[in-house]
């Protein structure tokens, strides 16, 4: 019973304006890699989904979007039910066939290679991976450069996939093919499009 209530509640109070606000934050983030954009907690979904991740899902997913979810989401009937009810998304078990991937357990996620990179003729047919992170105040900081960045940009997400700099360099090397990342934090979001380069930290 409780699970059912959780599934049906927590969508955008105003789906038109809510998704517009989240999209503009995403567009701002994607156009300015590493920029931390604050958003309201517009949607509320069952654990393990955070409000920002849920809001992004409600903004971008529908039955024309194929989505891969990681284990903790798949293990939660309530979270999956929420996504299905509020977005109508098309679920897939094959990360290489996903338009989006929703990741809550970053340490155990598949490598970037497992996801769709698009083809050289259609590099847009690639996976956008949404990483759920605690925040953007980690001790270590990445220095970013590339389109959307004036000079360089510091970026300190609280969690990163394993071997991130190596994986990211390989992703950058496959350009124009490649995956793009969206970071969903606590009331904040950020993005790294495939064009962004990570500068080697100075010794």
């Amino acid at each position: 019973m409780r699970a059912a209530t959780q599934v049906f509640e927590g969508g955008f109070a105003d789906s038109v304006l809510g998704s517009q606000e989240i999209f503009r934050a995403l567009m701002d983030a994607m156009a300015n890699p590493g920029r931390i954009v604050s958003v309201g907690d517009l949607a509320q979904a069952p654990s393990p989904l955070t409000p920002v991740a849920a809001s992004i899902a409600a903004t971008l997913f529908d039955h024309d979007a194929t989505v891969w979810c990681d284990k903790p989401i798949k293990a939660s009937e309530a979270a999956l039910g929420w996504l299905k009810f509020h977005t109508g998304l098309e679920l897939t078990n094959d990360p290489a066939g996903a338009d989006f991937a929703l990741v809550t357990d970053i340490d155990n996620m598949p490598s970037f290679d497992a996801f769709a990179k698009g083809t050289s003729e259609y590099p847009d047919r690639s996976t956008t991976i949404i990483l759920q992170v605690a925040g953007f105040e980690a001790q270590t900081s990445l220095t970013l450069e590339g389109p959307g960045i004036k000079g360089t940009q510091a970026f300190s997400p609280s969690q990163l996939p394993r071997m991130f700099t190596e994986q990211w360099a390989a992703n950058r090397g496959a350009f124009p093919r490649g995956i793009d990342l969206i970071f969903a934090g606590n009331g904040l979001l950020a993005a790294l499009p495939r064009t962004t380069r990570i500068l080697n930290k100075e010794a």
């Binding site: 789906s15 038109v16 304006l17 998704s19 517009q20 606000e21 999209f23 503009r24 995403l26 567009m27 994607m30 156009a31 300015n32 903004t59 971008l60 997913f61 529908d62 024309d64 979007a65 338009d99 083809t119 050289s120 003729e121 259609y122 590099p123 847009d124 690639s126 956008t128 389109p147 959307g148 960045i149 004036k150 350009f175 124009p176 793009d180 499009p193 495939r194 064009t195």
Partner: protein, 293 residues
């Protein structure tokens, strides 16, 4: 009888907006690459800005201020019509001032006033494929982009030089974005090309009939194609604007009589009016004429 149609905020239904929004995010991630999207029929004809209108409708919100220009002017009929459309379906504030706008939808010009970070310029694009007039087939041009095979474009430009002594392309002059994709900047005069380079604003391009969206993120390298012995150069005008005396703005020629009489005035009406308001006077400005009387 079917009930009187009611339309969503910004006209497009939410599913269409999501589809366009997903395409916009991909377009930003792959600068200069044309993302196919399922363009919809709009209540204005294809070729009249349906791509730009769909992009604007997908991004616009109640906190935006919209400016619409055609040929640089806010009061050309198609600009008026598109502005009125958004006032009606999105009820957003509109402006003619470049500096006040958060979203500027444009056909054929980039404003003279430098754009700022946080602004989004939405271009209406008729033919998004820069290689289209060299190769009419989409299946072929797509391969050429995939293989980064742009030799044909250089050959075309060089043939111009051989025949005319100049590169004969004066508008829709191709650019290379971030060293990878050759891109059509829409039919803006090549005068505007340098404004695209390293712009602090986000530039989005919508081609409705051809069903493509592409983008240039802020601070992105945009280089006009050229040759060492024939470097890219923009149009220059031999005289300043007749109304505001601006030098270095793009001018329209206005025919005054049928005996060859003409004057040159800024095509960017907001830029020209702002300058006149600040006291700049050209040799034919109304205020100048009054002073002389």
């Amino acid at each position: 009888m079917t009930e009187l149609a009611t339309y969503n905020f910004a006209y497009l239904d939410e599913q269409t907006k999501r589809m366009i929004r997903r395409a916009i995010l991909k377009a930003i991630a792959i600068p200069g690459y044309q993302v196919p999207f399922a363009s919809r029929e709009m209540p204005m004809p294809y070729g009249w800005g349906t791509g730009g209108v769909q992009v604007t409708a997908a991004i616009i919100g109640p906190n935006d201020t919209l400016k619409v220009i055609d040929q640089g002017a806010d009061d050309t009929t198609n600009a008026v019509s598109i502005r009125a459309f958004f006032q009606k379906v999105a009820n957003v504030p509109v402006t003619t001032k470049t500096t006040e706008a958060t979203i500027i939808q444009t056909r054929h010009r980039i404003p003279e006033t430098a754009l700022q970070a946080g602004q989004t310029l939405v271009y209406q694009v008729p033919i998004p494929e820069p290689l289209r007039f060299l190769e009419p087939r989409e299946t072929e041009t797509r391969k050429m982009h995939a293989l980064e095979e742009y030799g044909l474009m250089h050959v075309k430009l060089y043939e111009d030089i051989a025949r005319h002594g100049h590169i004969a392309t004066t508008y829709a002059y191709p650019v290379k974005v971030e060293g990878r994709y050759v891109m059509d900047p829409s039919p803006t005069p090549k005068f505007d090309n340098p404004k695209m380079h390293n712009s602090p604003a986000l530039q989005l391009f919508g081609a409705g009939r051809e069903k493509r969206i592409y983008a240039i993120p802020p601070y992105t390298q945009v280089v006009s194609l050229d040759f060492e012995d024939h470097p890219f150069e923009v149009q220059t005008f031999s005289q300043p604007c007749a109304l505001c005396a601006a030098k270095g703005s793009y001018l329209d020629e206005v025919i005054l009589d049928d005996k060859g009489g003409s004057m040159f005035v800024c095509s960017d009406t907001d830029f020209c009016e702002e300058r006149q308001a600040a006291g700049h006077r050209g040799h034919l400005s109304p205020a100048q004429a009054e002073a002389a009387e």
